[in-house]
Symmetry: C2
Subunit: 331 residues, 2 copies
């Protein structure tokens, strides 16, 4: 019914609603980023001046460690401190897993009646390595919309941990006391990205031993560390990740976790590491954007046709892909 349609939403009014933190505008903006819509770059360009105020926290760890519950509790704690919180659940997988994830999300919606909380699932289908870029862009949207705290939560395992660490100011790695969890985390590269450790489900058997084992690994990791590993000794060049004990399901330890994150933030700011890390992020973002554009300009119709003609020759091994690239670059 064309006569009944509202006038099309102008870009400017969309922007001003976004800056006011209107949830529908936020959702639309994140969708544009997620889908790489034609307006996405313009949007990100326009909002950039309003970013830089939110603190970005990544929550990651092995499956079953209780990341969702802990993220929820942390969000509730920040709300009790009058800070607005956005949660981005980052899912590296496909639509097939939607069902399982939805269950987690519904659990988290307990806090969603609160207007100071925004919750969003974000997928990065098909774009290997594009996850950290999209997560950062979504964080920019939420930052410009005025949120104080942005929590990234990784869903399951997969390739998302390192991406999240790149997009976050503080990365929290959640472990549980199960035997060998810390060793597995070490193998998985989670030790490298942790700024704060959480030993969750600390009412379980073996919690104390698991915390001791983790401390032992951390001390082995940082030479010259005299043994005090409470995060407060990290005032110099190196940050020593503290280990916070929580029982997520009972909300125990959320304040201590928020305090540990705050200590890390203060260390980041005073050590100058925060500025360096943000500069590195900006440099990488520029490199990514340039790469997208130079590739798009390179692949003219002629070149695509040349590649398609040669690809069967490459498959039959009568020419190597390296020789094909050589001739593509020459033309």
């Amino acid at each position: 019914m064309p006569t009944n349609t509202a006038p099309p939403d102008s870009f400017d009014s969309f922007l001003s609603r976004l800056f006011q933190g209107e949830k529908r505008a936020i959702s639309r903006a994140i969708s544009e980023v997620e889908n790489e819509s034609p307006d996405a770059v313009r949007l990100l360009d326009e909002i950039y001046g309003k970013t830089g105020n939110a603190y970005r926290i990544g929550v990651t760890g092995p499956p079953g460690a209780g990341k969702s519950t802990l993220t929820n509790e942390l969000a509730l704690y920040y709300r009790s401190q009058n800070k607005s919180v956005a949660i981005v659940a980052v899912d590296p997988t496909s639509p097939f897993t939607g069902g399982a994830l939805l269950g987690d999300r519904i659990r988290m919606q307990t806090s969603s009646l609160d207007t100071g909380v925004y919750i969003r699932s974000m997928a990065a289908r098909g774009s290997l390595g594009g996850l950290s870029k999209k997560a950062k862009e979504a964080a920019d949207v939420l930052d410009a919309a005025g949120f104080d705290i942005i929590l990234f939560e990784t869903v399951g395992v997969g390739q998302s941990e390192l991406d999240i660490a790149q997009a976050a100011d503080t990365t929290v790695v959640v472990l549980v006391p199960e035997s060998g969890d810390a060793v597995q985390a070490m193998k998985a590269g989670l030790m490298e990205i942790a700024d704060v450790f959480v030993m969750n489900k600390c009412d379980r058997d073996g919690a104390n031993q698991a915390v001791s084992a983790l401390h032992a690994i951390l001390q082995f990791r940082i030479p010259g560390n005299g043994g005090a590993n409470d995060g407060k000794t990290g005032a110099g060049n190196k940050w020593l990740p503290p280990v916070v004990q929580t029982i997520g399901a009972e909300g125990k330890g959320s304040k201590e976790l928020a305090d540990a994150i705050e200590s890390h933030k203060q260390w980041e700011l005073t050590s100058g590491h925060f500025r360096t890390a943000r500069m590195t992020q900006l440099r990488e973002r520029i490199l990514e954007l340039v790469s997208e554009q130079v590739n798009a300009r390179f692949w003219t119709k002629d070149k695509e046709e040349l590649m398609e003609r040669e690809i069967t020759n490459v498959a039959s091994r009568s020419i190597s892909p390296y020789k094909v690239v050589e001739s593509l670059i020459k033309t």
Copy 2:
């Protein structure tokens, strides 16, 4: 002592030693690929005509599922069939984890006195998304060196699973009967990449229930599947991943696993999927190589200096990264 040094190894003699399967030449070639040395592209170009004969199998799954042991047993089974086997343990993490990994590797060296077996750890430090490219290139080296079977094993979790699936012809996902393992695997996106499932440590409690649960999930996944999920019904357009039960530590089930992999290979070949997948890999490789070169050509000294001048303005938010990219592209 310069007078005692051997004449420098010529590239041609290096190549011919590689084609004869000489282990030192193989190790050197993989190192060049891994380190992206100046000779790497020339090497890959020269060997390309000799590739295409090895079958590439990826072994992945959650930490603690017994991937190393199972890979080792599978290698021993292939050796008993007179096939030569190369194992590439792909590690997405950093030097810090070297200690833990070394332990695994030493275990695997039980089969390394055999000249028909080659074992190699491969890291992909710093290069997000570069893992599948390097794994594929290492496989090309091993393929040209004459190995019949190439086994990629992922170490721990991390971002390596999807990369490995991209580099492998058949991807084996290893699970254990622990409750919820299949559900966690589903969340982690492992269901999407599996061509063959292994339920390892099948002497544990709950093994039968875990296998049933996995079958139930697989049938939910593939609409119209009448229930028979033994892999043999996959002769048409869709492959139904079979579930093989093993006890890796006792070598039980290795033959059945090799048979399931062979069934998948035959389906890949007869369905035409093998050719399509290899063509897609080639197309992606050409796109990657082109991207590397156009980016390298773009970043002249002038442009790098322009970016460095502007980056502080971007950090202070007086200009957006998108505007900087615009002016970089224009100059």
